[in-house]
Symmetry: C2
């Protein structure tokens, strides 16, 4: 295994590239960026961190290291999409076991770089350390004139979504159970996409928003709690919004598409509320006075449940 | 073990506090901050990430979880000190094993909060995940009108340092070898301090700077390489700058203070170069044409070596 300096030099070669607003990128004590315009009509900084840990968020058997790199960047950037922010730059802290081979490391970095390119946001620095498993912490810094928060949904708003709800959960279930599911489901889990453009379409329209990382029921619950409202998911509208690949995957898994859409996480779909329609989003429910998240199917209604708790 | 939501609620209670410039803190998809003033006479963003991993950077037997929390924040903030930046805010991603008890988690968070308070920079968000060992990734965002880089040292500059070089290494060696060393040495390793004020004193004076995380020889080597110069460390000046506790610890460890100062890491001392003196810094060497890092002792001279390589 090569020395840390050689690895850093290779990282530099792979990741270093000029980008607007980057004064100092990889290779100094810290990155230096131009701030977004401040003052009247300016933007706020929007900033998040996420971590993908081997054994918790992924298994080497179920995705490539390039997938791990891609996913670590996109999962973090998705938080910015949910705030209607544009990403300015990315830092990553990579923990690697001593026995990881060079090819795996290179693939991981290539995946990070591909995601960075897809987002149009440069990787401007990072950290490398030894540890018992692969773990990638990614922080993304962005800017938004008026960030959309979890609080702000009002009774009478509609609930809107964009992205393939349930499809990542179907992909993961297929891999874990050894059931053949459409490639689109595997891709949804291995190569999620932070919906930055969709998030930008919310500007001036959405009253509240969140991204779906732990499952629609759970994440809509955060929005409901922050806004002090009740989220009612419409079963018919959700079924109508199901991706064709989800319907095929659900049949193979002997599951209901609706259940996968409500409980399944890691879609990095965006959910927002608004008085009216937003381009690129489909309506999946309504906001009512009250609290909690419910599924309404005709005259029946039940509490939505499911989703991932790291410490349950 | 309580659920993730309960943990997050406890984190909020412990960490949430109003701070100037924080629009949205812990609890939404991302933090929202006021940017520093941009344009002419404005500041740049200075941004870093660091990770402290159990088994690599610390052992539970050698420091408390409060120390781990403190250290994770200070180690990251030290990168900003080395750029002459002021910290604006902090995000932390905490990975915890399933069997870690509540007291340990609370102590870790208390240590993070104490370091945040000492820096005057709020913790504005974070992430919590399960993993095989305790690991804390910390990103610090700051601002500086003219960040001091590793490149910029010129032949004829003096090499200056502030902070207890070698003392953390002496503390760690004492713990690992079961040798009694002064408390100041243990504190230097367990509770390092990011030298933000000293970093600010470099503004307009320092030509290049770096913080000492992996050892003076190694980190001065980064500065030498980035600047295209030769760093010559003066053995007499280093010995004169040795902290009294280092001299005592070195005797107990049967080591030379000079060796600990040159090779020892995790001091988070600042090293900079300048045409003249800087308040709070002591002179420890000179910049000459050439490359590499050398120790000069009277008429003798040898290549400085030592320091920590994560992948050697």
């Amino acid at each position: 295994m090569s020395s840390e300096l050689e690895r850093i030099a290779r990282l530099l070669a792979r990741l270093a590239h000029d980008a607007p607003g980057v004064v100092v990128g990889i290779g100094d004590d810290a990155a230096v960026l131009d701030p977004p315009p401040s003052g009247a009509g300016g933007e706020k900084l929007v900033w998040t961190i996420d971590e993908q840990v081997e054994g918790t968020h992924f298994e080497r058997e179920l995705m490539t290291f390039a997938d791990v790199g891609w996913r670590s960047v996109m999962a973090a950037a998705s938080d910015l999409a949910a705030m209607a922010a544009r990403p300015l730059g990315i830092l990553a802290s990579v923990v690697l076991p001593a026995d990881l081979d060079e090819d795996a490391f290179d693939a991981l970095v290539a995946g990070q770089r591909a995601a960075s390119d897809a987002l149009g946001a440069p990787i401007v620095g990072g950290n490398l350390a030894r540890g018992p498993c692969v773990s990638v912490a990614t922080t993304v810094l962005g800017a938004a004139a008026s960030p959309v928060l979890r609080a702000g949904a009002r009774p009478g708003d509609v609930v809107l979504a964009t992205g393939p709800l349930g499809l990542a959960a179907a992909g993961l279930a297929g891999l874990q159970r050894g059931v053949a599911v459409p490639d689109a489901a595997l891709e949804a889990w291995r190569r999620p996409v932070a919906r930055i453009d969709a998030g930008r379409a919310m500007i001036g329209k959405a009253t509240a928003a969140i991204d779906v990382s732990d499952g629609l029921a759970r994440d809509a619950g955060h929005l409901a709690a922050a806004s002090g409202v009740r989220v009612v998911l419409d079963a018919d509208r959700l079924r109508a919004a199901a991706a064709p690949a989800l319907v095929v995957a659900a049949r193979a898994l002997d599951a209901e598409p609706l259940d996968l859409m409500v409980a399944g996480g890691e879609d990095y779909a965006l959910v927002c509320t608004s008085p009216g329609a937003i381009e690129g989003f489909v309506r999946i429910g309504e906001i009512e006075p009250g609290s909690g998240v419910f599924v309404r199917d005709g005259t029946r209604e039940w509490p939505a449940h499911g989703g991932f708790d790291h410490f349950a």
